[in-house]
Every structure is written in structure tokens, then in C-alpha cells.
Amino acid sequence: MESLGSIITYVVIALAIIVFSILAVTTRKILRAATYLLFALFATAAVYFKLDYEFLGGVQIAVYAGGIVVLVVFAILLTTHPGSNSERLASRSRRLGLLAGLAALAVGAYSLITRCELLASAPAMSNPDMDTIGTALLGSGHNQYLLPFEAVSVLLLACIIGGVVVARKR
């Protein structure tokens, strides 16, 4: 049995996720969409905190909310004429989009429902401490992640260079 505070927290988080997600894809102002995305990401971070993955939550906020959304906002400011709204959606395309979204929903929901027995309640778990995470991230043994870490770092470097090359003026 969860504590009431926990339930309330959950409800708030879940509602935030659902509402901001829907708003992010329905609003016609692109800057607002970015803001709603930011909130949805924060809500996700909250989920991580709630599930005792504090480091991950921190990363989520720092990288996603702090980095990516800022990038997106810059991009919007660079590419959008002030005050312009995106055009109104044709009903056909909206219906098609809805159909697709619902199809995805249905498939996901169906698989969730048919696998109810998997969905146990959360067992007790201690928050993985920084030592553990650090060792796992930079070790090269079993269940340790040095190689992907290095690969990602190289990827990021490539991205930086690629971004600079692509975006710079000729």
C-alpha cells in the first residue's frame, strides 16, 4: 500500500505528463509547444526521481530539459517569423493523425493488457549511489559500460563537428 503522498505525487506527475504531451502536439504556437515539451520532460524527470533513479533524473533535467529544449528554443527563434502561427490543420490530416496515434495507443494498450501478470508492484530498492554508477560507467568488466561510454563520447564529438559544419555559413 502506497502512502497517500506517494499517490498524490503520482497523480500529479501522470496528469502533467498526459496534459503537457497533448498540449505540446496540439498548440499552434511553436514556442509554446517547446515550453510544453519542457514541462513534459520535467514530469518525466519527476518519474525518475520517484522511481529512485536520482542520477538519471538529474541527467534528464540537465541534458534534456536544460540542453535540448534550449537548443530547440534557439532554433525556433532563429527560424520562426515573430507572431506567426502554424497553419490550421486540415481535418483530414488531423483525423489521419488521430487514427495513427490511436492505433499506436491501441497496439500498446493491448500488449500492456495482455501482459498484466508482469506488472508487479515496485519492490524495495535503494537508490544506486554515485560510486556504483561511476564504476559501472567507466569499468570495462562484466555489466560495465566503458565501451558505449566512449562510443557516445565520440558520437557527441562527431555531432558537434557535424553541427558546426552543417550550420555554418558558406
Binding site: 495513427a100 497496439v107 500488449s111
Partner: protein, 691 residues
């Protein structure tokens, strides 16, 4: 001896390489002198070798019984196929090769000398490519000498091809003239076609001999192992033997497949080899190249297309003669081909206008005489008009005629060359009545005509008489046939002679020089050859050149006269004189008889004049059938069907990719949709199947 033998081959070859490579740095004069001197040295060497062979009495060359032997002077491996088949390059000395050495070097030297004068115009300006001409002459001499001294059939084939190539180069010497180019091409291709038969014949013969032969057959190509037995105790010396030929025949008869299409395989092989000879010797139906080959410079015609190369076919048959003796069918084929060709060529020669063409057909006809003579040779005893015929007389007669014919035909050609050089045209219509202007040419030409017509005591009389005797010994029908051809020969030669030197007075066009005799370089060969043509008939061939080396007559100077079969001789003399008289009546003074004759037999004249339309027939076969119905369709098939199939593969692939590239529209939303539908379907399928 070996040094001389090597030098005989090496000097012309080196001369060819030297004149060919360095010729353009030499002056014309020096090129001519060098070439002539080279050939002169070769001639001296050849004379020494031949003299030594015939008269030294060395044990290598003649045994105690007086039989002439075959001696291999040297024989080096050139290409080994496997243990029983290898090509060697060597030097075989026997009666016919020694005789041919003399013939070739003599005529070649005369032609070298003569060309010094001939290959210039009246102002002494040299023909362009004069050095090249001498290089080619040397090449030809080398090839021809290599051919006659061949120790094995493949060496003969090698030089046979080289001879063909040098003939090609010489016929096409005036390469800017279309007619010369196409004549050279024709000569090469026709003889090439014949060589195909030759090659297959060699392959068949050598296969059977190599496959079934044991013991003394060490090399299936070598003449000495095909026709001779080694002489005991003397190295490299052989004796022509009927036994070996019989043994070879035995190999064929005892093989797993002795017959092919109704004839024995040996006959097939020999006939195929003879086919090669037919090509080079211009026997019907492969004669068509020779008249056209007259496009070459006249000395070339004298050397190649009268005296030496064209008798290679005769020489080939003579070389393998013991084998031919084993297969009378093959000999009969040779006889028929020869007899038909002789008559045909003689008839055509009667109607030609171009003097070189007349001589060309005359050559064909005379070579056919030699062929017939070989074809009628048997070694059983026979009689001709009551007299006994020597065994193997036809062979001797053929070689004899080859020798004399080479001399007087070269003389005639060089004489014709002198006329052409003086007049500038090949047609007798431009000549007429030249006897006063060119007395030396006139006299030598007359001697040549008398020789070829067979008037005693000129060379042709004796050899032709022997041939007719041999024919009578074999079959009266062929003998009468050949006698008639001999009469025609006398007729057309004197027709030519009268039309050139008599008929009517020569008209000298204004502004032109009157025709006159030529410089000494041209006259000297004429005179020498004329002299030879007078005396060559007295060479005692019966004691020098026989098929098995066994002399059939004595060796005195008058032997030929003493051994004359007077029945045959008087017949041939009468026929020849009739021929000459008819020609005299018709052509000595301008008159209307020829015109009337022509009008009386228009079709015969037309057919003869057009050489019985053989050229048109070949033209049809090569252009319409080979090119039109084989080459072009194949080329079309290749471009359209085979290539079309490959292109069709490419086109189908191309079309298919064009057809499906519409999916790659570049529209991101479409990709998303396709992706989504795919993902949903995949999920659905997974769920349905797995759950």
C-alpha cells in the same frame, strides 16, 4: 658443305633484314647492287652445292650402284610437340632439291639483275620503294629456298606460308593501286584456303604415322622417315624406298579407322595435301589468283608466278611421291585436275589481250602438264606407241619440264617486262610490229616461244616430249588430250608473238620516244635465259633426277636425243608446227580471220575471254554467300540478338528500378506513414503469432 647450306639460307634472310631495316638509309643504286650481289653469292653457293651433289660421287650423295641418295645436311629442332612430332629446320639434299636450288637461285639472280633496269623509268628515276622491292625479293628467295630444302613436311608448310606472304607483299608492291591491292589479297586468301587443306592433310598424315608407327618412325613429319630408309653406315643419308611407303600405307590400313567416306584415309590425306599444292600451283578451281597476280611488277611475275613459287605444288607432290604411288586414286585425281586445268588455261590463253595474262594462263597450263605427268606415273612397265617407257618416267619428265619451263617462262616474262617497260602498257593492242624497234627482245622472245611450243631442239621440246610419252604409257586418252593442249600452247604463244612483233607496223605517237631495247641490266638476263632455253633440253635429267634416285638413262650430252621416243616426238612436233602455222596465218599480217573466227564462235570466245566466269563465281560466293549470308548475319546476330539479350537484362533491371523508385518520394510524411503501418502490422503479426 654445311657452311654453304647455312649460307644459302642465311644470305637472303640477312639481306632481307638489312634492306628492310636499313634500306631507306641506302641509295637506290646501292640497295640494288647489294641485293643483286647477295643473290649472286647465293647462286654461286647453290651451284657449288648442286654440282657437288650431282657430280662429286661422294658416298653421301650416290651409292655404289649409282643410285642418288638423300642427304640431310643439318637438321635442328625448332619446336617439339611431343616425342614423335617435332618441327625441325633442316637442309635436305636430294636430286629434286638440288635441282630446285639451281632453278631458284638462277632465276632469282636474273630477276635481281633485271630489276635494276626495270624498276626505273625512261629517265632513270627509280621507283619509290625500290629498296623495299629488293628486300621482298630477298625474303621470297629465302622462303623458297627454305621450302625446297625442307627436311620435313612442317618445315615445308612454314616456308610455304612465308612464300605466300612474300608473294602477297610483292604482288601488292604498287600498293596505291586498287587492283594490285585486291590482287594481292586474293592471291593470299585463295592460297590460304588451299593451305587449310594442306594443314589438315599434314595433321591426318602425321597423326596416323605418329600414332601407329613404331620402331624406325621417330618423327612423323620428316620426309626421310615417310619415304626412305637410312643407308647403312653413313650418317644422315637415306635412300628412297618403296618399302617405307608401303609400310606407311600399312599403318593406315591396319589402323582403327582406315576408311573415311568411301576412300582410304591415306588417300584423303594425300588429296588434302595436294589441295595445298593446287592452291600454290594454281590448279583449277583454285587458279583464279594467278592471272590477277600479274598486277605485281613484271620481274616478280617472272620469279614467283612463272618459275618458282607456282611450281611449289608440283614440288610438294614430287616430294611425297612414294606415298602418292601407294594410292593410285590420289594420282588419278591429280591427273584429272591437271588435265582439265591444262585445257582450260590453254583455251583461255587464246583469247586474252593482256600479254601478262596470256603468259599467266600459259603458266597454269604448263604447270598442269607437270601435274599430269606426275599423275600418270606408275612404276609398272608400260609401252607408248610401241616403245618401252622407263619406269617412273613421268616423275622425271615432270621435274624436267619444271626445270625447262622455269627457264623459258622466266625468259618470256622478262621479255614481256621489257615490252611493257618500253610501251608502258600491258595490252598487245598497244604494241604490234615491234620487231624492228626491239631486236634483242624480239629474238629472245621468239626463242622462248619456240621453247614453250616444243620445237626441237629447244628446251621445251624434250621435256614436253617426255611428258607425252609418260601419258601414252599410262592412258592414250590423256595422252591425246595433252597433245591437243600442247598444240594449243603453240598456237596461243605464237598468236601472242605475232600480235606483238608483227600484225601491223608500230605507230609511234608524236612526242613519244620510239620504243627501243633496254639497258644491259635487262638485256643480259634475257640473253642468258635464252641461251639456257636453247641448251637446257640436253641436260640428262634421266640420270640426275628420278623418283627413287635410280638413273633411267645415261648421262651423255645427247642422251635425251638418243632416248627420244620418235613416235611421240614426231606427233608432238607436228602438232606444235600446226599450231604455229595456224597462228601465223591468222596473226602475222593484219587480216580479218580472227574477227571471223570470233564471230563464228561468239559464245566460246566470250566464255574463254571471261575465263569461264570463274572470277564472277568466286565473287558471288565470297561476296554474296560468305559476306552476305554468313558474315553480315552473324555480325547482325551478335549486335542485336546476343548483345540485345545483354542489353535487355540491363533494360529490365533499369525499368524495374524506375518503377519502384516512386516509393522514394522524398516526402517525409509518407515515409512515416509507411513506417507506422509497417510497425503496426508487424506488432499485430507478432502478437497474433506469438501469443
Amino acid at each position: 658443305m654445311e657452311t654453304s647450306a647455312i649460307l644459302i639460307l642465311a644470305i637472303p634472310l640477312l639481306m632481307f633484314l638489312f634492306l628492310g631495316l636499313a634500306g631507306k638509309y641506302l641509295t637506290h643504286k646501292w640497295a640494288g647492287i647489294l641485293g643483286t650481289m647477295g643473290m649472286g653469292i647465293t647462286m654461286c653457293l647453290a651451284y657449288t652445292v648442286a654440282f657437288e651433289y650431282f657430280f662429286s660421287g661422294n658416298q653421301f650423295f650416290i651409292d655404289e650402284a649409282g643410285n642418288r641418295l638423300q642427304h640431310v645436311v643439318f637438321n635442328h629442332d625448332w619446336l617439339n610437340f611431343y616425342d614423335k612430332l617435332s618441327i625441325r629446320i633442316g637442309f635436305l639434299l636430294d636430286p629434286i632439291s638440288a635441282m630446285m636450288l639451281v632453278v631458284i637461285t638462277t632465276i632469282s639472280f636474273m630477276v635481281h639483275l633485271y630489276s635494276n633496269g626495270y624498276m626505273r623509268d625512261h629517265h632513270g628515276v627509280w621507283e619509290t620503294g625500290f629498296q623495299r622491292f629488293y628486300a621482298f625479293l630477298s625474303l621470297f628467295s629465302f622462303s623458297m629456298l627454305g621450302l625446297v630444302v625442307a627436311t620435313n613436311i612442317f618445315q615445308m608448310y612454314i616456308f610455304w606460308e612465308l612464300v605466300g606472304a612474300s608473294s602477297y607483299l610483292l604482288i601488292g608492291f604498287y600498293y596505291t593501286k586498287h587492283s594490285a591491292v585486291s590482287a594481292s589479297k586474293k592471291a593470299f586468301i585463295v592460297t590460304r584456303f588451299a593451305d587449310l587443306g594442306f594443314l589438315i592433310g599434314i595433321l591426318v598424315l602425321s597423326f596416323y604415322v605418329g600414332f601407329y608407327g613404331e620402331g624406325n618412325i621417330t618423327d612423323a613429319f620428316t620426309f626421310t622417315s615417310l619415304t626412305s630408309v637410312p643407308v647403312d653406315g653413313i650418317a644422315d643419308t637415306y635412300h628412297v624406298s618403296e618399302g617405307t611407303a608401303q609400310m606407311i600405307r600399312g599403318l593406315f590400313e591396319n589402323s582403327a579407322a582406315p576408311m573415311f567416306m568411301g576412300a582410304s584415309v591415306l588417300t584423303w590425306a594425300l588429296v588434302l595435301i595436294f589441295m595445298g599444292g593446287m592452291g600454290k600451283s594454281a590448279m583449277m578451281p583454285l587458279h583464279i589468283w594467278l592471272p590477277d597476280a600479274m598486277e605485281g611488277p613484271t620481274p616478280v611475275s617472272a620469279l614467283i608466278h612463272a618459275a618458282t613459287m607456282v611450281v611449289a605444288g608440283v614440288y610438294l607432290v614430287a616430294r611425297l611421291f612414294p606415298l602418292y604411288l601407294m594410292q593410285p586414286t590420289a594420282l588419278d585425281i591429280i591427273t584429272v585436275v591437271g588435265a582439265v586445268t591444262a585445257l582450260y588455261a590453254a583455251m583461255v590463253a587464246c583469247t586474252q589481250i593482256d600479254i601478262k595474262r596470256v603468259l599467266a594462263f600459259s603458266t597454269i597450263s604448263q604447270i598442269a602438264f607437270m601435274m599430269v605427268s606426275l599423275g600418270v606415273t606408275r612404276i609398272d612397265h608400260s609401252t607408248a606407241l610401241g616403245h618401252e617407257v622407263h619406269e617412273g618416267l613421268g616423275y622425271m619428265a615432270s621435274m624436267f619440264h619444271l626445270f625447262t619451263h622455269a627457264m623459258f617462262k622466266a625468259l618470256l616474262f622478262l621479255g614481256a617486262g621489257a615490252l611493257i617497260h618500253a610501251i608502258g602498257s600491258n595490252d598487245y593492242t598497244a604494241m604490234h610490229g615491234l620487231r624492228k624497234y626491239m631486236p634483242v627482245t624480239h629474238l629472245t622472245f621468239l626463242i622462248g616461244c619456240l621453247a614453250i611450243a616444243g620445237i626441237i631442239p629447244f628446251a621445251g621440246f624434250f621435256s614436253k616430249d617426255e611428258i607425252l610419252t609418260a601419258c601414252f604409257g599410262h592412258s592414250t586418252v590423256w595422252a591425246i588430250w595433252m597433245a591437243a593442249v600442247a598444240g594449243l600452247t603453240a598456237f596461243y604463244m605464237f598468236r601472242l608473238y605475232f600480235l606483238i612483233f608483227w600484225w601491223k607496223e608500230h605507230k609511234v605517237h608524236e612526242g613519244h620516244h620510239a620504243p627501243h631495247d633496254q639497258p644491259w641490266t635487262m638485256t643480259l638476263p634475257l640473253v642468258i635465259l635464252a641461251a639456257i632455253s636453247i641448251v637446257a633440253g640436253f641436260v640428262p635429267f634421266g640420270s640426275l633426277v628420278t623418283w627413287n634416285g635410280h638413273p633411267i638413262t645415261g648421262d651423255g650430252f645427247l642422251t635425251n636425243l638418243e632416248n627420244l621416243n620418235w613416235g611421240v616426238a614426231s606427233l608432238s612436233l607436228i602438232i606444235a608446227i600446226i599450231g604455229i602455222l595456224v597462228a601465223m596465218v591468222m596473226y602475222k599480217k593484219e587480216n580479218a580471220i580472227p574477227e571471223r573466227m570470233h564471230n563464228a564462235l561468239p559464245n566460246l570466245w566470250r566464255w574463254c575471254h571471261h575465263r569461264f566466269y570463274w572470277d564472277e563465281l568466286y565473287q558471288f560466293i565470297t561476296h554474296r554467300i560468305i559476306f552476305g549470308l554468313v558474315c553480315r548475319p552473324i555480325a547482325w546476330f551478335d549486335r542485336h540478338i546476343i548483345d540485345g539479350t545483354m542489353d535487355a537484362f540491363a533494360a529490365v533491371t533499369n525499368k524495374a528500378s524506375f518503377a519502384i523508385r516512386g516509393f522514394q518520394s522524398g516526402n517525409v510524411h509518407m515515409y512515416v506513414w509507411i513506417y507506422l503501418i509497417g510497425a503496426v502490422l508487424l506488432a499485430a503479426v507478432t502478437m497474433i503469432c506469438v501469443l
